[in-house]
């Protein structure tokens, strides 16, 4: 057996490979050699081989066959062996593997070793990979080490403890007493890690905060000493004494003072001192100032201090360093809720940032700009934002169009300006405008009674210039359909020639003929044509002929409409004028833009998704609204159609409020699946199963008391506490084979921001063997242009579920 090569040689070998295939071959060859050596139980070169394996693992190749070797190295007496062994354990093992439990014993022994470096190794490894079980086993050992006289050991033990309390919050009780003495240390490493430990305990166990608040004076004193201290060579960075420790202390103060008036008052002086005395010529100083400002903004600070903070951020905004500007924009966004007048002063600088080269800065400036819009500055702000929209990256356009629309609705000084803005927004937004915004734009137009002809003319010209953008096309076509007669008859603008009926029909026909046009837009167009058949009586036969062409359309919705409208022409011609009358102003529910009431008497362009459990039920529903049209079939699902899927989606048991269903009487409960039909089912406490990235998923349980299959119904409720909506939310679950799982359709795919709404979904788990239910869940959703996916396992279902 040749002597295995050193790590250096392997690295050189791999770097000299010119192609990926060559590299793979070299790696595979080396792995084979390593594997053989492992089998031969060679002690001498194990260390070297594991080191190479770690490098190979870092490159991305599988290396799990080295895990047991790491264990052997850890058990060895040589320091170098132990070191590589523990490193291997940290890199190759994670708490999901069973192998890591085997090192618990080695860890325990090594933590009692007389050599500080070996103790350090054990603490480092434990602090990197310990599982809840290991945490419970070894917490007492770690606590003992926290009391050691050796600063090197103490600091590592403190960070090891942070992981333990994160995994098992109850263990905080073990560590709280010893933290007191840690704060009296002189060693900066110990102080740094002690503050980290206290911070972690405060986060995982908020009820310990009153206890830690009593130490605020001590923390303040620590901070003060750092600021006033002279030059401390060990921890000085650009003239600032240990900025890392200062920042950590400020962070802890922020958490402690957040909800507490008394604690916040105590820190006022020191915060003012740090804010004014810290040099901002270097990044280190700016980092401390940034943290101070964050602290001031989060606690219950007095107004003078807040003004100081906003001024610092204002200075940052003018800094030539991009990083500083970015940080300022981010902080001001958080500030705007608390003190918007102070931020308004910097409005012009923020608007300039919209034109910055850097996409991160543009994004922050964009979000901040929307937050700054108010009644007095709306016209100038929207002008800038429309300009920004025309230049914006694709990922921003949807957000910007929505923002502009909301601002236009909320703050418009007059109706004409509002409609002009909406038109500009549609032009600039192109195909990135949300369906909800389209629906809401239509609503806004319908409200502007004196401006029908004007807006229709504007929309007509814009559509004439470009029929390819669906959102704009849909709004324009709706408007033309509804108000075409006013438009044709009305005054001419800007010396353009008078448009006649035929030209309007030509335009609509060209939309229908164009291959880019989506099916929804075609449906809009057919509706518009029908309305025009009563508004342009001379052209009724031409319209009939156009509509007839789509009786064979591939799309079900288009075909359906075409056939039904033809029937209207042929058999029910007398009903046509009445049915296609001008729509009354659309009534909105009090919820946000999302839902539009389906007034089924009008040929509303927005497709209606009906109950697929039976056409009979659907027609009952439509009868209730006094309509004589035959029931429409279920429509093919469209991705962003949350507005429409909310309507009449009786198939989805919406436990959360649904504006349309609010309109209907309670007799429609038969459309909704019964949530609980049994008298007095056993009450089971709800369970929070997921709480990350702002997404919170709770399960509510319901169980029939007498059920052969022991079915438990879980109602999932997903909420979103961030300031961006979650879209395309998908929840999947799997259970072990001994159970059966049925997942029903969710109430929607969008979770609105700021806990303003939720998605609900029903799961049914059948548990005939009465075992402990376990479930693996997988979630995915889009937020703010990014996709987030995650999975997890739920093992802690309440016992009453089983």
């Amino acid at each position: 057996m040749p002597i295995p090569m050193r790590l250096k040689e392997l690295i050189r070998l791999i770097r000299s490979c010119k192609t990926a295939a060559e590299e793979r071959a070299a790696v595979n060859k080396e792995c084979a050699l390593i594997r053989t050596t492992f089998k031969e139980e060679d002690n001498e070169f194990r260390c070297r081989n594991v080191a190479k394996l770690l490098y190979i693992h870092m490159l991305g190749y599988p290396a799990h066959f080295g895990q047991l070797e790491c264990l052997k190295l850890i058990a060895s007496n040589r320091f170098m062996d132990k070191r590589i062994g523990y490193l291997g354990a940290m890199l190759l093992l994670d708490e999901r593997q069973d192998v890591h439990i085997l090192i618990t014993n080695s860890l325990k022994n090594d933590m009692n070793n007389s050599t500080q470096f070996i103790v350090g190794l054990a603490l480092c490894t434990l602090g990197s990979i310990c599982s809840p079980e290991m945490s419970r086993d070894l917490a007492n050992e770690v606590e003992k080490l926290l009391k050691s006289a050796n600063a090197y050991i103490k600091k590592k033990a403190a960070l090891c403890a942070t992981r333990m309390v994160h995994k098992v919050p109850e263990l905080s009780e073990i560590f709280i007493p010893v933290t007191r003495s840690l704060l009296n240390e002189k060693n900066h490493g110990v102080l740094l890690t002690a503050v980290a430990l206290i911070t972690e305990i405060c986060i995982v166990k908020p009820d310990t905060m009153p206890h830690f608040r009593r130490w605020t004076p001590q923390l303040i004193r620590l901070l003060k000493n750092l600021i006033m201290a002279g030059y401390a060579p060990d921890h000085d960075v650009s003239g600032i004494s240990d900025p890392f420790l200062q920042i950590r202390i400020l962070n802890l103060l922020r958490i402690l003072g957040k909800e507490d008036q008394e604690c916040s008052e105590a820190m006022n002086d020191i915060l003012a001192q740090v804010a004014t005395n810290t040099e901002s010529s270097h990044n280190a100083g700016n980092a401390v100032l940034y943290q101070t400002v964050q602290c001031i903004m989060d606690i219950k600070a007095e107004s003078g201090l807040r003004v100081l903070a906003v001024n610092i951020m204002g200075r940052f905004l003018l800094n030539s360093d991009k990083n500083i500007r970015y940080v300022a924009l981010k902080t001001l966004q958080k500030t705007i809720n608390i003190d918007s007048t102070a931020v308004q002063r910097h409005r012009n600088t923020i608007i300039d940032c919209l034109k910055d080269h850097d996409i991160s800065i543009r994004k922050r400036a964009m979000e901040l700009s929307f937050a700054l819009i108010n009644g007095s500055n709306v016209k100038s702000m929207i002008k800038e934002l429309l300009d920004f929209l025309n230049r914006a990256d694709h990922e921003f356009k949807a957000f910007v169009t929505l923002g502009i629309f909301q601002a236009a609705v909320k703050y418009a000084p007059d109706k004409k300006w509002q409609l002009d803005t909406i038109l500009q927004m549609l032009k600039g937004g192109g195909s990135y405008v949300n369906d909800e915004v389209v629906a809401s734009s239509i609503h806004a137009i319908s409200e502007a009674r004196d401006l029908y002809a004007y807006i229709t003319q504007q929309l007509y010209s814009t559509l004439f210039a470009d029929i390819s953008k669906q959102p704009l096309a849909q709004v324009a076509i709706w408007s033309i359909g509804e108000y075409g007669d006013l438009f044709v008859a009305g005054a001419i603008e800007e010396g353009s020639h008078k448009i006649n009926e035929d030209e309007v029909l030509d335009l609509l026909q060209s939309v229908l003929n164009d291959s880019i046009t989506s099916f929804i837009t075609r449906a809009f167009t057919i509706n518009a044509l029908m309305k025009l058949s009563t508004r342009f009586p001379k052209s009724a036969s031409r319209i009939k002929e156009i509509v007839a062409r789509y009786a064979n359309s591939v799309d079900l919705e288009v075909q359906q409409r075409s056939v039904e409208y033809l029937a209207l022409f042929k058999n029910y011609d007398s009903l046509r004028p009445g049915l296609l009358e001008r729509m009354p102003c659309i009534n909105r529910g009090d919820k946000a833009e999302a839902t539009v009431t389906a007034d089924a008497t009008s040929s509303d362009a927005i497709p209606i998704a009906t109950v697929s459990t039976g056409g009979g039920q659907a027609s009952d529903l439509l009868d209730l609204l006094g309509d004589s049209l035959p029931p429409t079939q279920p429509l093919q699902p469209q991705n962003n159609n949350t507005a429409t899927s909310d309507i009449l989606s009786g198939n989805n048991p919406s436990v959360g409020g649904n504006a349309l269903l609010d309109l209907l009487t309670s007799s429609e409960d038969s459309l909704m699946q019964p949530i609980s039909t049994n008298p007095a089912p056993p009450k089971i406490a709800p369970l929070n199963v997921y709480d990350k990235h702002g997404l919170r998923i709770d399960f509510n349980f319901e169980k029939a008391s007498n059920d052969a299959n022991n079915v438990v119904q879980m109602i999932l409720n997903a909420t979103n506490s961030t300031s961006f909506p979650f879209t395309d939310f998908v929840f999947q679950a799997a259970v072990p084979r001994s159970f059966q799982l049925q997942i029903l359709a969710p109430s929607g795919a969008v979770i609105p921001a700021n806990n303003s709404g939720s998605i609900t979904q029903v799961l049914k788990v059948s548990n005939p063997n009465k075992q402990n239910i376990r479930m693996r869940i997988k979630i995915s959703f889009n937020v703010n242009g990014n996709t987030i996916q995650d999975q997890g396992e739920i093992n802690n279902f309440p016992a009453e579920c089983n």
Partner: protein
């Protein structure tokens, strides 16, 4: 807390990678590829911060090496920039030439500076003392 630390050369190859949370195999490869391509494409005029999924990426270029740190939660971005500077200086002092560093030793130095995603020690002397001490044996 720090989620990961990556050192890549200007061609996008990993020279050192350390993760402080559970991520394996395919996911890790994808993450690295994504992160590296995003950071390497940035121009000098752009700021050092990038929002990526639920993390913030903070990166800095030193000659031909990119240092990329991914952080979660409310970490202070400017302090992470300072940390990267500290890391570079520490590596520099030990290796004299950051490009051709010994991967094993690099891991050990990193472990003296960061534990479980939290910064452990910032004084270069204190970080390197144990490394020198254990080398003598």
């Amino acid at each position: 807390m720090i989620r990961f630390i990556l050192l890549v050369n200007k061609d996008g190859q990993s020279r050192l990678s350390r993760y402080y949370y559970n991520i394996v195999g395919e996911d890790r490869q994808n993450l690295e590829r994504d992160v590296i391509s995003k950071c390497l494409l940035r121009s000098k005029k752009e700021c050092s911060f990038l929002e990526y999924q639920n993390m913030m990426l903070i990166y800095r270029r030193y000659m031909s090496l990119f240092f990329i740190v991914g952080v979660g939660g409310d970490e202070n971005e400017l302090s992470i920039l300072e940390f990267i500077q500290n890391l570079v200086e520490t590596f520099d002092r030990y290796f004299n030439d950051v490009i051709t560093m010994n991967v094993e030793k690099a891991y050990m130095i990193l472990d003296e500076m960061v534990l479980n995603g939290h910064i452990l020690e910032t004084s270069k002397n204190r970080v390197l003392a144990p490394i020198y001490a254990t080398e003598k044996n």
